[in-house]
Structure formats: structure tokens, C-alpha cells
Symmetry: C2
Subunit: 144 residues, 2 copies
């Protein structure tokens, strides 16, 4: 299983400094879906809370959540764009996603997310499901 | 079929001003793949060239190309991140992708891409396949 220790220091830095990643899921018929997400990384797994607006949307109604329930295979990319294309870079993660509803791992993810994003301090992400992604493969590209 | 005329002026502006989009494909087993892409939009279709490094990679060997050949369903997101989360926004496109190898549509895509990205003027994208995405659905979210 890949872990942060297998990544180069620069790839780790890109992951740790990025404020947004892009998560691709697919439904059971193979229709992909991609959205920007906020995320935290504990050195092994990636976490992204379900904090969708409008608040009245039930978490399970979200397309990404429905897709993960149907098909746990996901892909996540963390990238840097620059008009100097010699500086383009990304880290691509392929893995399995699952939903956490409570427990120690959920609490730790909330802590990591609130440390990284002050915006979450005022949001009830501790009461919402959390997407956890365990990488099966991580690939770095570009001048990291 | 949705077109730029169906999008709000702000959604159109987000699409036209964005330098990068994220393209999700999936293989025939439903494993998603997502990467950042440069793109142009002609008001109807999105275009993204195959300009991968290393140059020696055959275009058909690229995962996104293999996936499109296996499964034409794709999703594309154009988004804006801001630390003020009231300003987050995205336009999500679901559609069908195909590869263009030559012809008027390919030439027009090359023209649009070179007008948008000066970096392409020095690159042989006119000799490379082009991904064309025809939207089936476009959804805007956030304060566009």
C-alpha cells in the first residue's frame, strides 16, 4: 500500500500545500462525475467532508455519495497550474472510497480538516458523513 | 442539447476565463481517472489536445484516451477556489467524448486553443489527436 513515505518530498509538499483537489467517482453504469473538494491527508488516507450546500440536501442524495455507495473505485488529483508549463505538476491517486459516519477515524479527520481549513471550525462537519479514500496507487507527474 | 446560450452570463464567464479544467473518464470496469486539462470551448463543444509529455508516449497509450475509446461517457468541471467560501463556484459538464484526428473541427479547435494559450503556438497540437466533448448536461453551482 502506498504511503506518504513512498512519495518524494516534493510530491508530499504539493499534497500538503494544496487547498483543493478534484475527486472523480463513477456510477454503476460507468458515468464519471468530478467535483472540486477540500481534503486532508493523514499520510495514508485522504478525507473529505460532506458539507454540501444547500444544507437541506440529504448527504446520501449527493451524486458523489451515491456513486461511492454503488462503486467504491475513485480517482483523486492534486495539481498545480502555472502559465510556465514547465512548472505544471500533479499527484494522481487511484483508490477505494468509503463513508465514515462516526468513530475515532472520523474524529481525527475532523481535527485534520479544521486545522487545515479555519472555515470548518464554524461548520458541523463532525455531524456529517466523511469520505475516506485509501490509495491503491499514487503517481506523480511534472516538475514536483 | 445545452449550449452556451443556456448558461448564465456568469457561468459562461467562468468557463471562458478558466485556464484549467478537470476531466474525469472511466474504464470499462468503472475505474475513474481524473486529470487537469487545458481546454477551449466553442460555445457548444469543449476541446482538449493530446500534448502529453513525454513526447514519446503514443497518444493511444494515455489512460484518458484508452478510457474514452472504451467508454465515451465523461465529466468535466470548471471551478473557482477562493478562501472566501461564499465565492466558490463550478460548472459541471456531463457528456460524451470522442477523438478528432483531422478535419475542419480539429483545425478550428487548434485555432481556439492557440488563441487562448500562447504556449500552444510552439507545440504541434495540429498533428495530434484532439478530445472533443459534447455536453449532455451542464450544471452551475455557487455564486457565479
Amino acid at each position: 500500500m502506498p504511503s506518504i513515505s513512498r512519495l518524494s518530498p516534493r510530491a508530499s509538499r504539493l499534497i500538503r500545500s494544496a487547498r483543493v483537489a478534484h475527486l472523480a467517482t463513477a456510477d454503476r453504469r460507468g458515468q464519471p462525475h468530478v467535483i472540486p473538494i477540500c481534503f486532508a491527508f493523514d499520510g495514508k488516507d485522504f478525507f473529505s467532508p460532506i458539507d454540501e450546500k444547500p444544507k437541506r440536501t440529504a448527504p446520501r442524495a449527493l451524486k458523489r455519495v451515491r456513486n461511492i455507495i454503488e462503486n467504491a473505485q475513485v480517482s483523486l488529483v492534486i495539481d498545480r497550474y502555472d502559465e510556465d508549463w514547465s512548472r505544471l505538476a500533479y499527484v494522481l491517486v487511484s483508490g477505494k472510497a468509503r463513508l465514515l459516519f462516526r468513530g475515532e477515524k472520523h474524529r481525527e479527520a475532523v481535527r485534520l480538516l479544521r486545522r487545515k481549513y479555519r472555515q470548518y471550525e464554524a461548520m458541523a462537519i463532525h455531524e456529517r458523513p466523511m469520505i475516506a479514500i485509501t490509495p491503491k496507487r499514487m503517481t506523480a507527474w511534472g516538475k514536483l
